[in-house]
């Protein structure tokens, strides 16, 4: 059965205490009063009152590491869906790490429509399309594993306090788990059976993101599943 | 599908500020006070082929209305009433923002607000339009033709429609043995029976101010407009908030108060129209 709520649920337009902390746009000042702009939970964290949105729209910020889905191929760049209102651009020159010659290089040889890439948001300010870069440790085309989608607002729960949730899943399944801020979780496992269990564990977090005692519940879930499935 | 307007002309920010600075002193760009409409000119009988017509100038805004009366069938659910149809056309020659094509949501809204304001109070005596109940009635086609758009099409159109209807004549006719109705085109005819005189008054909320009879630029910088329709007994016979902004109850009351006074000015303009 479910645990108790992690805090108090509030709806858009409901007044929040002036001390409640939240990022824009999840809070707005209307006529001098602080109000929630999305459905969320007001929760006590280390002596502070914080507002955690339960649903939101992912907006990229420079520095974010995201998982993108290649949607289109242009002359010198790829169009990449990053689960945001804005389609991102990955320049061929950046991906190849060298000057790019459209007469010689066929972009579809490197990244096809339907490929996933792990990339860093290099630049974005809402006036232009977000620019991606794969220059950096662990970035580039994703060649194995699966991607699970969860609402971007729930990614912090998949990560857990000081990475506790990710580490618990990794330790109990032996999989590598990478939750990207844009709501896509990359799971790469030693076996197909373990992959199924890790995916179910992430979906469990999605469903119960705002309940207390979730980490313990997830650990118990993985242990039970492994026992039941004999893996 | 209704879409947020995305190609409206840009009003320079300093111009908006200039408007607001004037409002603070209680004035408009053309020297008007906030609660005064522009100059009103009403001319009737301007079209020979229409049974009723009027040209209204409200400042630089010009609206032409023609009323055509034709013999036709009544609606099934109202066999004892004639038919009144109001249609508005934003003619492309009237403004750079108008384009050829079927009426857009603004033209449809305009005609429907005018239509409702006439219909609900029974401004036109539809019963008097019956020739043979359930079979033959007069159909009145009221066509609003916007010729020059400098704001406040609602009030200008309503004035023109009212003036045109008040001067509409229904020709004499003869019932033939076949049951057909023969309209005598050259007959003097009889005046259309009007039960109530209706005007609409449009106010706009700009910054912290409520102004009446906005011009085109004022409409663009306005948060919203409030259209209130009145009959000669000062009953409210129609209303529509138009535009994206929300309205406080306090602003509504201020707008209602201003509108009631301006309605008198419009009624007087109709009253004094040479017929």
């Amino acid at each position: 059965m479910s645990g108790e709520l992690h805090g108090v649920i509030v709806a858009p337009g409901e007044r929040l205490d002036q001390r409640v902390e939240a990022k824009a746009p999840y809070i707005a000042e209307v006529n001098g009063v602080k109000v929630a702009t999305t459905v969320g939970i007001v929760s006590q964290r280390e002596g502070k009152s914080v507002f955690i949105p339960l649903k939101g729209v992912y907006v990229p910020e420079p520095g974010h590491v995201v998982i993108g889905l290649v949607e289109s191929i242009g002359v010198s760049s790829w169009g990449v869906d990053i689960n945001s209102p804005y389609q991102a651009v990955l320049a061929a020159q950046d991906f190849l790490g060298r000057p790019f010659n459209p007469a010689v290089d066929d972009l579809s040889r490197f990244l096809k429509v339907g490929d996933y890439v792990k990339a860093k948001v290099a630049a974005f300010d809402k006036t232009r399309s977000p620019l991606l870069s794969v220059q950096g440790e662990g970035l580039g085309r994703i060649i194995s594993g699966v991607i699970v989608e969860v609402p971007p607002a729930k990614i912090p729960r998949v990560i857990g306090k000081r990475r506790s949730m990710v580490e618990a899943i990794e330790a109990k399944t032996g999989c590598s788990v990478f939750p990207a801020v844009n709501g896509r979780v990359h799971i790469d496992c030693p076996s197909r059976e373990l992959e199924v269990i890790a995916v179910l564990a992430v979906k469990l977090i999605d469903r119960e993101a705002h309940r207390v005692g979730l980490t313990e519940k997830v650990i118990r879930f993985i242990e039970d599943e492994r026992r039941a499935r004999g893996v | 599908m209704s879409i947020t307007p995305f190609k409206m002309p840009v009003i320079p920010l300093i111009k908006k500020q200039a408007y607001l600075n004037l409002y603070e002193k209680g004035l408009r760009e053309d020297g008007r006070r906030l609660d005064k409409p522009r100059n009103i000119e009403v001319k009737v009988g301007v079209l020979d082929k229409a049974e009723g017509s009027a040209l209204v100038k409200l400042g630089n805004t010009q609206v032409l209305v023609g009323v055509k009366a034709e013999v036709g069938q009544p609606f099934k659910d109202t066999p004892d009433q004639g038919v009144l149809v109001v249609h508005a056309e934003n003619v492309p020659l009237a403004s750079p923002i108008f384009e050829p094509g079927p009426p857009d949501e603004n033209a449809i809204e305009l005609s429907r607000v005018v239509d409702r304001s006439l219909r609900e109070v029974r401004a036109v005596d539809l019963e008097s339009l019956v020739i043979r109940p359930g079979e033959k009635v007069w159909n009145l086609w009221v066509d609003i033709y916007v010729l020059d758009h400098d704001g406040n099409l609602f009030d200008a159109s309503m004035l023109a429609v009212m003036a045109a209807l008040e001067t509409t004549t229904l020709k004499d006719y003869e019932e033939l043995e076949t049951g057909e109705i023969l309209v005598k085109r050259d007959s003097p005819g009889a005046k259309l029976k009007i039960n109530h005189r209706v005007v609409t008054v449009t106010t706009a909320k700009i910054g912290n101010y409520i102004i009446v009879d906005p011009n085109f630029e004022e409409e663009i910088i306005a948060d919203y407009r409030l259209v209130l329709a009145f009959d000669e007994n000062m009953r409210i016979v129609g209303a529509q908030k138009t535009g994206s902004g929300g309205m406080t109850l306090k602003d509504f009351k201020t707008a209602l108060k201003i509108s009631k006074e301006v309605a008198q000015i419009y009624f007087k303009a109709l009253e004094q129209t040479p017929k």
């Binding site: 059965m1 479910s2 645990g3 649920i9 709806a11 858009p12 337009g13 409901e14 824009a24 746009p25 707005a28 209307v30 006529n31 109000v35 702009t37 999305t38 459905v39 339960l54 649903k55 729209v57 907006v59 209102p85 804005y86 809402k126 006036t127 609402p151 607002a153 469903r207 119960e208 705002h210 309940r211 | 599908m1 209704s2 879409i3 947020t4 995305f6 949501e105 603004n106 449809i108 809204e109 609900e120 948060d223 409030l226 000062m234 009953r235 409210i236 016979v237 129609g238 529509q240 908030k241 138009t242 535009g243 994206s244 902004g245 929300g246 309205m247 406080t248 109850l249 509504f252 209602l256």
Partner: protein
């Protein structure tokens, strides 16, 4: 409007034809998150009136010219299903539906934080499944819930209700019979948390005093409907755990 059925609309005991008191709403039901594909969705019932709303976006529109540089645009379609009325309604958009799409869009624009998503479009689709009066105001309520369910940030929730005048009496939440035989129908939507009326129309004849009283009746009811909206939203998120 007008017509002969007035006598039956207000009964001798002062109640309405369906037994409601003048200031009584029909039973209101709401459910959030009813469609899998949409970013957000809701179904709302005012008595027999049933309206479904779905939100897609914010997203970059296919027609890339159809954007604003400093804010998102809202695209709203109010539509009645062919089977929603007694006589089949043609699915082609009528003049009435075009006007109502506009007034519903304008009822929402001031509460959605559109400036958060420049160059994008937020699509709101309102489908009337069953029409028994008050479809546009139930539509605004459903659209507001669907936007909140989609996680689109809003300054406040919006809800709507229609006030009517039947047999000389002001009544709340008119149904189809009251709408077609009454003397006035006044659809109102508002965001009570921020004190704004966002939709206001009058179809009919009222004195200034009736207009005043009708508007306050509507605003009182809207506060109640918004609190039902908040419950529906919270219920969705609270209930999730129980299903597991």
């Amino acid at each position: 409007m007008g017509g002969g059925a007035k006598a039956t609309l207000i009964r001798e005991d002062g109640l309405r034809h369906d037994g409601r008191r003048p200031e009584e709403l029909r039973p209101i039901r709401m459910q959030v998150g009813v469609l899998a594909n949409a970013s957000g969705s809701a179904i709302v019932e005012y008595g027999k009136t049933r309206v479904l709303a779905a939100v897609y976006g914010p997203r970059e529109p296919y027609q890339r010219f159809m954007v604003l540089p400093d804010r998102a645009i809202l695209r709203v379609r109010y539509h009645m299903a062919p089977f929603s009325t007694s006589e089949r309604k043609s699915p082609a958009p009528s003049r009435r539906e075009i006007e109502l799409s506009k007034v519903i869009r304008e009822a929402l624009e001031d509460v959605v934080l559109l400036s958060e998503y420049p160059r994008t479009a937020i699509d709101v689709y309102v489908e009337v499944l069953q029409a028994d009066g008050g479809t546009r105001v139930a539509g605004v309520t459903a659209a507001s819930l669907a936007l909140a369910d989609a996680g689109v940030p809003m300054k406040a929730l919006v809800a709507g209700v229609a006030v009517g005048k039947v047999g000389g009496v002001l009544v709340l939440d008119v149904d189809e019979l009251e709408d077609s035989h009454g003397e006035a129908d006044m659809p109102v939507a508002a965001a009570p948390d921020i004190g704004l009326v966002t939709m206001f129309q009058l179809n009919g004849v009222l004195s200034e005093d009736e207009l005043d009283r009708g508007l306050s009746m509507a605003l009182t009811a809207i506060e109640k409907i918004v609190s039902i909206e908040k419950e529906a939203l919270k219920r969705k998120f609270e209930a999730i755990g129980e299903e597991v």
